[in-house]
Symmetry: C2
Subunit: 593 residues, 2 copies
């Protein structure tokens, strides 16, 4: 592994400062990033990076982030504190001595809805209550805009408002079209929303590797991913220390943390899928819910009768959770315990507000398997489960794609909308071809941008190492930035109001040779600056009216400025344009007219 | 610059060997690449890399490649050899002494159509003649297939045959829907075809930098680009030695070479756009046509009256050629000399069979400028010029896009088809957002895959350095592989017969843990292998039934094999599937039914 063990990365992004916008109804401070622009007002952009990019915030991972939601929750008065489940040796894979990652320091009380009460954002939304979380995300989605921006785009049925109001957020959640993954035990969270009528979000996966990781290393992976724009992070750790590492991550995470509880349950039974049981799984759900996991991937849609549908597949079952459950079902020749106990899972989730991410255990792992009977049979079951979860006031999103060629992407979105009642879609990629191992962040960015445009609410990133190995620090950054640009391309195409402000600001900087602005307005200022400096390193070149691509004589933008100056001298391009339009005929030079 | 000066890269790609397929009607040998696959027949794929990947070919860049077309042309009997234009000092920017790149060794005769006769593939196609070039590309497009393959996809009106025949090629060329860029003076060429009903092609740009380049370095840039899959190469050199370097490139190029003659013309007038004239331009066209340039980008569609349409653009005119011509037009307040002399340009092109790439001088350089009045006004003019060129038997393709958000991409293809009479479209990207400098190979791969699907015949690559600096060797490779995967994604989505064979072969290898096959069947075996080896370097791991991503316990593919074995033991998954379908109802396990 090239991966080193860095300290926690802190500090503002280049040219940027953290600003906070206060709420109207609740005592909330919504973080945003303000990018300074020469000769223009600063540009305010969405900022998922948390206090780590605020030089004024003291970062101490042994203390965790401040519990910004602490005060909000108590106000609701529907929760009770209790001691919580005791940590067992199996929770950390029986790691001991020097191999045991220390527990997160200090005791903290665990909350749950009192008397099994639903304390979910969905329950509040249905009751007509605008929670602090709802106001928080409403402000956040507007990115500092106070007025409507020019609209453009094709939204495929999405209904994106000019400005997001708290009431709009409430209604979208009440209708099940959006979720705010926000476990009441994750009080360090800066809430965010996932839904088709909001900005497209991205998820980054992290997870400890086979070698023992320090907790600092795992926290840094999360911090690094959100620095570059991950909106949520899934902790897909397996192996030892899984419980303690998760605690360190959540206590330091300003973004929602998702998990696949089945992975830890499998560790508890020594990796033998057949030995899994509902009791072990249930206990793991409570363990993780108490820690504050914000969303669970639950592969309850993969049923016994669907397994034969995968017999002729080129790549069988490629979801880890899906393959584990299929193995269990087939061995016992029984229906999945996740499916049979789904209502009980809902009972747990509603008490902590853990959102469902209904897993696509049968997603296609190759172009040949895309959109097949198995995949769509499971999708329809996920739609049934959505309604069961909604009846219990649980928040739900639906997982999808995998490997899907371009012409089969839209059908995925259409089928999902049809069968899953507009619950948010959360897709891996999709990868649009199988033939480029090493470049699957790109094969999948193509599919991700398209499905995001069609209506997918959150895109799960893919790194260059997909199919080949564990991503290192550079791969994570590449994956996150790639998915950020794909999500933004989708926002632009959907006509998300305000999305184009950043493109316009960057393009103005580009046209006016404001190199520093161009770097800072981009998604990755460091890489842009480094690439520019490779061929034109001198500081003087940062104001040069050309770059090494074309050089001064062949710089089209420089010549464009000459053209405008020449036109001004002659009579003004706009006058010329006006004259041309008035005449209603081709403008011909005098000497040939 | 990280760029070093490598020798010419030769040798087969991993696991591959060069094979040649003989023609039926002509004495041609069509190169293909055969990838060995364990336990399966080898997979034959399209191969643009030329003799450099054939260990049996002796490479000596001072001798140039063998003139494979030499015999074919004489057979036509419509050409005459002549001495050709003398090289002038201005052709090499007055480089002298140690700064002068030596001329390509040896004298060679120059050919042209006798008595100004059209010797274009279009002229022959219209006359009902199937040239050797036509048979060559017909065989090439089938990639060794002798039978139809299963079809899938949405072709948006493209009519792709099951197998390409020479007569099909002839008809497509006769109709103007495809071109074979093949200057009669580029006899080293392995012909290829560009058209909507053929495989999507990609172009890589190279060009000498400001510092003096050796001819070996420039030839290597071309060889490196085609090694990774570039179908054509544009030499966008500026500065000194432009003539001699071009000679070295063409004499060693098995792919079509394109240029923008305006660049050299501008060098001849010291970089002062206003000093350009038709005479200097005309002389440059003949100079380059005699050398064997296969296609010329000619910005004849940018007319004087369109310049004011760019007045309110965010990024003005971003095409180098476009900005130069606009400056000339405005300064002289005259119609473009390219437009006024277009018929004379056709007279030159028809005599050597230089194809037109009608330049999009007004392509948008930012999301804000996409699909604007200026862009589409020029496109309509390109359509008019197409008909003039066709009347002279000249082959034509049309240049397009730039920066275009996803929802505006299809309109570009539709407008092009409508106004340019189905002449092949050749687009840069398009880049689907402006906000990711350093990642524009990806912002543009999204747009390129989509517009390729919609019908664009050739995609001009974009490297990570776009907008920032000159691409180095790594950037060129990244750009080429990225565009290869985008073109392939487009072929899959169009339902190109046989395209999915490679995805399927790779996915079978993946499912069966044939790691070496997986690497070798990918677009970049070296990178895939290196990434795998970062975390699992041991040779034994090349047969491991898992990778470092998930480890053995969590490997879904490994578990899928267990599932299939278990099912076989029970009764066979397919039997189960059959039973399920027969019963016509949900398959329920016995103990819950």
């Amino acid at each position: 592994m090239k991966d080193t063990v860095p300290a926690i990365t802190t500090g503002a992004l280049p040219g940027s400062r953290k600003v906070y916008v206060a709420g109207d109804s609740h005592r909330i401070r919504v973080p945003m990033r303000e990018i300074a622009v020469t000769g223009e007002a600063p540009l305010t952009v969405y900022d998922a990076s948390g206090p780590y990019t605020d030089p004024g915030a003291g970062i101490d991972i042994a203390a965790g982030l401040p519990e910004v939601r602490g005060g909000w929750l108590q106000a609701q008065g529907h929760v009770e504190a209790y001691a919580g489940r005791s940590v067992r040796e199996a929770d950390n894979g029986f790691a001991s001595g020097a191999r045991l990652v220390p527990a997160f320091p200090g005791a903290r009380s665990v909350l749950r809805g009192s008397d099994g009460r639903a304390v979910t954002q969905l329950a509040y939304a249905r009751a007509g209550i605008i929670t602090p979380e709802m106001e928080f995300v409403a402000i956040r989605e507007n990115e500092g805009r106070l007025a409507a921006a020019p609209r453009d785009g094709e939204a495929f049925g999405a209904e994106i408002p000019d400005l997001v109001t708290p009431e709009f957020v409430r209604r979208e959640i009440a209708e099940g079209r959006a979720i705010i993954p926000a476990n009441i035990n994750h009080r360090e969270l800066e809430p965010m929303i996932i839904g088709r009528n909001f900005k497209v979000k991205i998820n980054a996966n992290i997870g400890n590797s086979a070698v023992t990781s320090s907790m600092e290393e795992e926290v840094e992976k999360m911090v690094w991913a959100i620095r570059w724009g991950a909106d949520t992070v899934m902790d897909l750790s397996t192996g030892r220390n899984i419980h303690n590492i998760r605690d360190w991550i959540i206590r330091n995470a300003p973004v929602p943390i998702g998990t696949v509880p089945l992975y830890q349950a499998l560790e508890k039974v020594g990796g033998v899928a057949e030995d899994l049981s509902w009791d072990i799984f249930r206990d793991t759900l409570i363990e993780q819910a108490e820690q504050g996991v914000d969303y669970f991937t639950i592969h309850a849609g993969l049923r016994l009768h669907m397994i034969p549908m995968t017999a002729k597949r080129v790549t069988g079952i490629v979801s880890r959770g899906g393959s584990i459950m299929a193995k269990w079902c087939l061995h016992h020749h029984r229906e999945s315990f996740l499916y049979e106990h789904f209502e009980e899972i809902c009972e747990i989730c509603r008490t902590y507000d853990v959102s469902f991410s209904l897993g696509d255990g049968l997603r296609p792992g190759s172009i040949a398997d895309a959109n097949d009977e198995a995949q769509f049979a499971e999708l329809r079951t996920l739609g049934e489960l959505t309604q069961i979860a909604w009846a219990k006031d649980c928040q739900v999103m639906i997982e999808g794609p995998g490997h899907v060629p371009m012409h089969k992407i839209k059908a995925n979105m259409d089928e999902q909308l049809k069968h899953c009642h507009e619950a948010p879609f959360y897709t891996l990629g999709p990868l649009t071809t199988d033939i480029a191992p090493g470049y699957d962040h790109i094969t999948s960015a193509i599919g991700a941008a398209m499905i995001g445009w069609f209506g997918t609410a959150m895109l799960c990133y893919v790194t260059p190492k997909e199919h080949l190995g564990l991503p290192d620090r550079d791969d994570v950054k590449t994956g996150v930035v790639t998915y950020r640009l794909a999500a933004h391309a989708a926002d632009l195409a959907k006509g998300h109001p305000g999305a184009q402000r950043r493109d316009d600001a960057l393009s103005r900087a580009r046209f006016e040779f404001r190199w520093e602005d161009q770097f800072n307005l981009g998604l990755d200022p460091d890489t842009a600056r480094a690439m520019h400096d490779e061929t034109m390193p001198a500081e003087a070149h940062k104001v040069a009216h050309f770059c090494s691509m074309c050089g001064p004589k062949f710089c089209s933008m420089r010549i464009s400025h000459d053209i405008r100056a020449e036109a001004e001298r002659q009579q003004g391009l706009e006058d010329m344009a006006g004259k041309f339009r008035e005449a209603g005929q081709l403008y011909l030079p005098e000497d040939t007219a």
